[in-house]
Every structure is written in structure tokens, then in C-alpha cells.
């Protein structure tokens, strides 16, 4: 055979092989933020297959709520922190082949010196010990919102279980028991900062430690605490000591499941191949290295225990029994409406000239959503009578300050006040933030509330942040300043303000309810 023909044939063969290897599948996954650390492992597989994978991150309850909507989710796969949320919300049975990738107990990480001070090092600690420490004012912690994120919901359900005194499972009537409500309400008074995402909460802990603010403790996944401690150790900071509450914890099973949108057999095959890849021995080892538990994987693939902070993925933890779906729903409503720490929220509404027309409309729609209990409760962000709300419409100056509690009448008044505002004039969001801060700091019994400032704006502002930040640093409490943007917003100033105050900016121009749900998860 002539040489040229051989090489042409070889080339053709190679091209053919390459074509076989690259599937050109586009595959999208919506996942809990705790899986950010696993994304490179997934992307490696996608690259090998010639597929384009996109991973977006949402709270597990948001993934559940998405499944519950008639249209469902757009993604090809879900990867929440626990299959409970799929069981609970996927009533249309859209998710198939749901398979656990790893086990992740939700535990309490306590700053090591604090744990020693509380006498918790090297001893079994029960929820009642944690309760006593909170009651005595000796312990505060970070915990995600139970109505948004699986780790918060898990910690909350473990608290409820424990408050029942070791009953096998939470039943509907238990939630009306005053002593249970009292115990859990007291435990939740320990919340110092909240968020809608476990990953973000862990970042907050590390960032704050870098800035010199050291929080006492954080409820999070065992594996996320390992990630956090790896970073803290690198920074030369004190690690969080792992407390595995001896009376039971909730364990997330981190399941990956397929949603069939009828996009063809190659998409489903890609999913099953991805699943097989994640379950292969080599990849299981890499997953276990992140601190995740893989039962039956054996000691060979388990991450090494780190006794200096009590981390031991081989340690047996008893998990609480998840209650019936109706009970979980009721427990979540109870959290939002009665047991969570009340919020103290100052809302700055930008009614400056640049907000005319479109921006103004979006702002009024936002107020409608925020102050209409039926709408807000659909996505579990309703206010409660014990919440305090300030509304500050502003342009170049703060036009007025309205104030109400979170009951229906108070919300109605705030809605009417906002409805009267018309856009016009200059802009100074820092002036509004400053006044909001003063209102918050002047509130009686401030420690009973989770404070936050939310600025709703298109982002174009005059003035500077220096004076506000000076006041902010001088304040007795750390008040995060969140942003919700409208129109074609310029996010840069808002972003740096959020960053300086350990908060976030959300885009309200597309999915308004989603942005507020996200923002509200942080207080």
C-alpha cells in the first residue's frame, strides 16, 4: 500500500476516533454550593467526553422549589445536598436515577479555644449542652437559613428532634408543644449571621477571620468544615473544632439525579456515564479526600482523620430520622414565622431620576412582592410580627423613614408609603445606608435581631463610601449591606460596599422573587 494512502487512512481513522470521543453534548447541572469543590472533578470528565458542562449553584430548598413549579427546572441534572428535598417537592416525579454520591453529616464547628473554654474537647456533646451555652450567652454561631439551605434545615431539624427528648421522629402535634418551641427558639437565638448558602457561609467565616472578625462557631457539613479549616490553617488562624452532637445529626446524601427534557439518548447516556465515573474507585478516592464519607468504601479511600480538630470521617454518627413530608413543611413554616431569630431590616429604595420608568416599575413590583404576605410565603420568605422593618426612599437625600413591624397591617402601611413615591432628583445611596445604620444601631434589644441593610438601586450614585464605612466600623454590631440591582445596573459601587460589609449583591431585574428570596436568606 502506498505510504500516502496509509497516512490518509490513518488520519481518517484518527478523525473518526476523535469524533467518537467528543460527544458535543451540552449538559447542565444545578447543585448545592457545597459541591463547588467537586466541580473540577466533573469538568474533567466533561472535557474528556468533549461535552460542555455548566454547573449553577442554588440552595437545596430552591432546587426543590424549582422542581415543584409546573415548568420544573431547565437543567439536565440536579445535585442537591439531600434527597429529602427531591422527595418533598418533586411531586411530578421529574427526577430519575437519583443516586447518592457521598454522605455529609451537618455538625457544629466551634473555634478551638472556645470549645476548650466550654469544656467540649474530647467529650461527647449533646444538643442540651449547646442550648445551655447559647442561653448563658457563651456561644453564638453562623447557620444558613433553614428555609433555603439544607445545612440550616438539617441543623434546625436536629434541634427539633433533640428538643423532643429522644422521640424516634418528629410528628405533627410535636410542633405545637410550647416547650419544644421554646427550646428551639432559644437555640436559634444563637444565630449571629445567616445565609442562603452553606458555601457562602464558610467563605464568610474565612474572610471575616482574615479581616480580624472571628466568629465563635458555624453549623455546616463536616466536609465544608474541613475545607474551611484547611484555609484557616494556611492563614495561621485557629481551626474550628468538630462537635458531632451525640443525640443525632442530619446527614445529607448528596444525590445526583437526571431530569429528562427529551433532548435525546446521548444526553441521558452522558448522565449515566457521569454517574459511573463518579462511582469509579479512583474518583471515589478523590471525593473522599474532600472529607466526604463514602460508606462501604473502606478505610482505604477515607480521608485521614485530623485529631487536632476532632475530624474523623470514620466516626459513626447516629442520624436523626427525617419526618413525614407534611411535618417538614410545617416545621419550615414554623421556622420562618415563629422560631427563627427576628430580622431587623432597613430597605433603601432608590427613587432618584435615573430610576424613572422601568426602574421605578420594578421597584414598585418589589415592594408588592415584599409586603404581600401571600406572595412572600409562597417562597418561604414571609415576615413575622416580631420582625422590624424600616423603609427609606432616597434620592440625593433620604426622603423619609417609614417603620413597621412585620405583621400584615404594618406591611400594608409600608406598601402604601412606597406606592406614593415617584422617581426624580439625584442619587446618594451612601447617605441612605448611613441613615439606615443609625436606625438599626438605635434599636432597643438589638442582640435579639439579625440586622441587615438592603439597597435597591440601579447602582449609579454620587457621594462616597468613606463616611459611611467609618460609621459602620464604629458601630457595636456588624450590619451587612446587601444590594438588589434593577435596570441596566452598574454594580461596581454596590459590590465594593457589599464586600466591605461581608454581604452580597443580587440581580433583581430578571427573577425578582428569586433575588429577594436570596437576599432575605441572609437575615
Amino acid at each position: 500500500m502506498p505510504k500516502t494512502l496509509t497516512s490518509v487512512l490513518l488520519l481518517a481513522f484518527a478523525v473518526l476516533l476523535a469524533a467518537c470521543n467528543s460527544s458535543h453534548v451540552k449538559f447542565s447541572i444545578v447543585s448545592g454550593s457545597e459541591n463547588t469543590v467537586l466541580e473540577p472533578i466533573v469538568q474533567e470528565f466533561c472535557a474528556k467526553q468533549g461535552a460542555t458542562c455548566t454547573v449553577s449553584y442554588k440552595g437545596s430548598l430552591d432546587i426543590g422549589l424549582g422542581l415543584q413549579k409546573p415548568g420544573g427546572l431547565d437543567q439536565d441534572a440536579v445535585w442537591p445536598a439531600s434527597s429529602v428535598w427531591v422527595d418533598l417537592f418533586d411531586t411530578g416525579r421529574k427526577v430519575r436515577n437519583l443516586t447518592s454520591i457521598a454522605q455529609m453529616p451537618v455538625i457544629l464547628g466551634v473555634r478551638k479555644s472556645k470549645a476548650a473554654e466550654l469544656g467540649w474537647v474530647g467529650k461527647p456533646v449533646f444538643m442540651k449542652d449547646i442550648l445551655a451555652a447559647v442561653k448563658d450567652g457563651k456561644l453564638k454561631f453562623l447557620m444558613t437559613s433553614a428555609t433555603q439551605s439544607n445545612s440550616g434545615a438539617s441543623a434546625y431539624l436536629a434541634m427539633l428532634s433533640s428538643a423532643l427528648g429522644g422521640k424516634e421522629v418528629i410528628e405533627p402535634g410535636d410542633l405545637d408543644n410550647p416547650s419544644v418551641r421554646d427550646t428551639v427558639g432559644t437555640l436559634l437565638q444563637g444565630v449571629e449571621r445567616s445565609s442562603g448558602s452553606s458555601g457562602w457561609l464558610a467563605d464568610l467565616y474565612v474572610d471575616s477571620a482574615g479581616k480580624g472578625t472571628v466568629y465563635d462557631a458555624m453549623w455546616n457539613y463536616e466536609a465544608t468544615l474541613k475545607e474551611t479549616n484547611d484555609k484557616l490553617k494556611q492563614m495561621g488562624k485557629e481551626p474550628l473544632y468538630a462537635i458531632y452532637p451525640a443525640d443525632g445529626v442530619a446527614v445529607g446524601d448528596s444525590p445526583l439525579g437526571f431530569i429528562d427534557h427529551g433532548r435525546g439518548a446521548d444526553v441521558e447516556k452522558f448522565f449515566t456515564d457521569l454517574l459511573a465515573y463518579l462511582q469509579s474507585d479512583a474518583v471515589r478516592k478523590r471525593i473522599a479526600d474532600t472529607g466526604r464519607r463514602l460508606p462501604l468504601g473502606g478505610a482505604a479511600i477515607q480521608a485521614t482523620a485530623e485529631p487536632d480538630w476532632n475530624f474523623d470521617p470514620g466516626k459513626l454518627v447516629t442520624s436523626i430520622r427525617m419526618p413525614e413530608p407534611a411535618v417538614i413543611r410545617k416545621a419550615l413554616d414554623l421556622y420562618q414565622e415563629a422560631l427563627r431569630k427576628p430580622s431587623l431590616t432597613a430597605l433603601c429604595f432608590d427613587f432618584s431620576g435615573s430610576m424613572q420608568d422601568q426602574g421605578e416599575k420594578q421597584l414598585q413590583a418589589a415592594a408588592q412582592f415584599l409586603f404581600t404576605p401571600e406572595k412572600a410565603s409562597e417562597v418561604l420568605v414571609q415576615w413575622t410580627p416580631s420582625d422590624r422593618i424600616f423603609v427609606l426612599p432616597f434620592d440625593a437625600v433620604v426622603r423619609d423613614t417609614f417603620e413597621a413591624s412585620g405583621d400584615a397591617a404594618g406591611q400594608g402601611e409600608l406598601l402604601a408609603d412606597v406606592a406614593q413615591q415617584r422617581a426624580g432628583g439625584g442619587t446618594d445611596m451612601y447617605a441612605c445606608a448611613d441613615q439606615a445604620l443609625q436606625k438599626i444601631v438605635a434599636t432597643a434589644n438589638l442582640s435579639k435581631y439579625l440586622p441587615a441593610i438592603v439597597i435597591m438601586t440601579d447602582g449609579r450614585t454620587d457621594g462616597g463610601s468613606d463616611l459611611f464605612l467609618a460609621h459602620w466600623r464604629g458601630a457595636a454590631v456588624r450590619v451587612p449591606v446587601f444590594g438588589v440591582t434593577f435596570g441596566d445596573a452598574d454594580k461596581s459601587q454596590l459590590d465594593s460596599l457589599a464586600k466591605a460589609t461581608s454581604a452580597r449583591v443580587f440581580d433583581g431585574s430578571g427573577d425578582l422573587a428569586g433575588a429577594f428570596r436570596a437576599a432575605r436568606g441572609y437575615n
Binding site: 443516586t99 443525640d247 446527614v251
Partner: protein
């Protein structure tokens, strides 16, 4: 190589003769019928636990020998005999996981031509090594004199759960809190359904009747209420058991064949688990237990051949050795894969019949309320 015309012709003749003789022989052997063409395509619904069996290439091949090709779609046992959305698709056969479903099918107006139990799988309890050790100490688990398998005094366990006993009271110090056992949702999945019948009969002290249900229904209800969130499918619950381990899923109800299928799906993994230091999965046989029978409900005459095939020694052996299903009377055909030798006894003593269909329907209604 050269071959003469004559030799070639003789060769053809010989081949033809062999072919004809072969054809005559094959025609009388039903298991080879399929190799002669004209395969019948049969459509029906099956319980999910038989999916792996029917997808097994050896099974597909053996059924192919009978001239059969199945379009078997998975549905819940209860829904396949009751849901009009499924029955209106005109299935030629139904293969649920409980004999009671035959009665329910008749009640829904399904024209049942014939029905016969083809496979059996006892309801078992899946647990972990340390639990077995503890329960042996407290006397709830004993080793069967015949067969040497672990049998569980289920009545005593249920009583302990109802009395609010802790794991430590039952001899298991590794686990904290109340003892518990979890099954699937009896209203959605067959293993939970069978277990609810067994629980009611045990509480009643006899195979449950309407009168006994009136007396003991509350106890059965309390057992199921204590389970909390229940899975909708036996396969899912078994996966949760394996994935969750001792701490998350100390005791779950399932079919005997599930662990066998899991072990054989990846023998290397099974070896590793057996050799490892961690808690190992274990089967407990409740004493007494109930059999989940798998009756093939024949609607279309063309399915008669499927019944013949499934009860043949060849397929019965595949069902046992590769998928852990027992035969029509709970007996076993052939050996088992060496990888899982000793996992299951050949024979199980003390099997209780299920309560009748009307008692079960009343029980289901109570458990839902």
C-alpha cells in the same frame, strides 16, 4: 486451496440434511423455537425489582430461545392493577410482586386469563454487623438450627420499638437513641405493603382479619408513624441503606434478592466489603416472614408461552443463581455464584400467609390517614 465441485455439492447436501434433522428436533423443543424466527413481542408492566432480571442478557437470550421479546415497563405493583392510565394501554401481561394483586386486578375488571406465581422472595430485614451482634446478645436474633441463617424475632423487636426502647436496651451500644426499623411507604410500594401485613398479623397473634385489624390496627399504625419519611420504592430504600450505612440506616425492610443482586453487580466490591474492617451489610430473616410472590397475570393468550418459559428450569436457575429469586414454592433451583455463597439459606422456615385483600385494603386506608 482448491475444492472439487463434487465435494462441494456433497458438503451442501450434508449440511442441508443436518439442517433438516436439526429443524425437526428443534421444532419440538420450546426453548429453541425462537431461533427459527417469528419472535413474539409482548408488552406488559412489571414491578421494578424484576427489572434487572429481565434486562440480564442471559435471561433475554433464554427468552429469545422461546421466541419471546419483552417490552416490560416498570410500574408500582398496586398501581399496575388499579390505574386506568396504565390499564388503558392494553398490557398483555402484568407481573406485580404480590398474589393479592391478582384479586385487585380482577376487581378492577382486568380480564385475567390465567395467573401463576413464578418467583418468590421473602421479606427480610437489612442491617449491619454490630446490630446483629447486639441483637444476638439480647436474644432477638438467633441462628436457625437448620440452615444456620440469622433469624429475627420480629414481634419482640416491634414490641421493643412500641415500648420506646433505645438501641442500647437491645444490646447495641454503637447507636444512640430509639431503636427503629424503616420500610417503604405501604401505599406506594410492595415491600412496605407486605411488611404492613406482616406487622399487623404479628401484632394480632394470627393472620389478620377485619376483627383483628379493628383491635390491633393502631399498633401497626404506630410502627409506621415512627418511621417518618418513607421511600416510595424498594430499590430506593435499599440504595439509601447501602449509601447511608449503619448510622443513617440501621435497619430497613427489603426483599431477600436485593443484596444478592447488589453483590453480583460488582463482585470485586462485594469482596472488598467482606474483607474490610467496617460494618458489613447483613440479612435477618424475620420469624415468621411473608413471601412476596411474583404472580404472572396472563391477559393475552400469547403470554402462555412466557409463563412456560419463566417456569422452566433454565430461567428458574438464572433467577436464583444470578438474581436471588426463589421458585414458585420458595424452593431454589441450581447453585449460586461462588461470590455470594452462604449469603442465603436454601430453605426458610416459618412463613406466614398474607391477610386477605379486603383486610389489606382497609389497613392501607388506615395507614394513609
Amino acid at each position: 486451496m482448491a475444492i472439487s465441485r463434487r465435494a462441494f455439492g456433497l458438503g451442501l447436501l450434508a449440511a442441508a440434511a443436518a439442517g433438516t434433522g436439526g429443524y425437526l428436533t428443534l421444532k419440538d423443543r420450546p426453548e429453541f423455537r425462537g431461533y427459527l424466527g417469528n419472535k413474539a413481542h409482548l408488552f406488559g408492566f412489571i414491578g421494578g425489582e424484576k427489572q434487572a432480571f429481565l434486562a440480564d442478557p442471559d435471561v433475554v437470550h433464554a427468552l429469545g430461545g422461546y421466541g419471546l421479546e419483552l417490552d416490560a415497563r416498570v410500574a408500582g405493583s398496586v398501581e399496575m392493577v388499579r390505574e386506568s392510565a396504565l390499564l388503558s394501554q392494553k398490557p398483555q401481561f402484568l407481573w406485580p410482586s404480590s398474589s393479592i394483586m391478582v384479586d385487585l386486578a380482577r376487581k378492577s375488571g382486568v380480564p385475567v386469563r390465567n395467573d401463576q406465581v413464578v418467583l418468590n422472595s421473602p421479606i427480610v430485614v437489612y442491617t449491619w454487623g454490630p446490630v446483629v451482634e447486639g441483637l444476638k446478645k439480647s436474644g432477638l436474633v438467633t441462628v436457625a438450627a437448620k440452615g444456620g441463617y440469622n433469624q429475627l424475632d420480629l414481634k419482640a423487636l416491634l414490641d421493643a420499638i412500641l415500648a420506646g426502647k433505645n438501641w442500647s436496651d437491645l444490646g447495641i451500644d454503637e447507636l444512640y437513641g430509639r431503636a427503629r426499623i424503616v420500610s417503604t411507604d405501604p401505599n406506594r410500594s410492595n415491600s412496605g405493603f407486605m411488611f404492613s401485613g406482616l406487622v399487623l398479623s404479628l401484632m394480632s397473634g394470627d393472620v389478620a382479619t377485619q376483627e383483628l385489624l379493628a383491635q390491633h390496627g393502631d399498633q401497626a399504625k404506630a410502627i409506621f408513624r415512627g418511621m417518618g419519611l418513607k421511600s416510595s420504592s424498594s430499590g430506593k430504600l435499599f440504595d439509601q441503606y447501602i449509601a447511608g450505612g449503619l448510622g443513617a440506616e440501621p435497619m430497613v425492610v427489603g426483599y431477600e434478592n436485593q443484596l444478592v443482586e447488589w453483590a453480583l453487580a460488582d463482585p470485586a466490591r462485594w469482596q472488598r466489603v467482606q474483607a474490610g474492617a467496617g460494618a458489613k451489610p447483613e440479612i435477618l430473616y424475620p420469624r415468621p416472614t411473608v413471601y412476596s410472590a411474583h404472580p404472572l397475570i396472563v391477559i393475552d393468550p400469547s403470554v402462555d408461552r412466557l409463563l412456560e418459559a419463566l417456569t422452566s428450569p433454565k430461567l428458574q436457575e438464572l433467577a436464583w443463581s444470578k438474581h436471588g429469586f426463589r421458585g414458585p414454592l420458595g424452593t431454589v433451583t441450581g447453585g449460586a455464584d461462588a461470590a455470594i455463597a452462604g449469603v442465603r439459606p436454601a430453605e426458610i422456615e416459618a412463613v406466614l400467609p398474607m391477610p386477605s385483600a379486603d383486610v389489606m385494603l382497609s389497613l392501607l386506608a388506615q395507614l394513609e390517614g
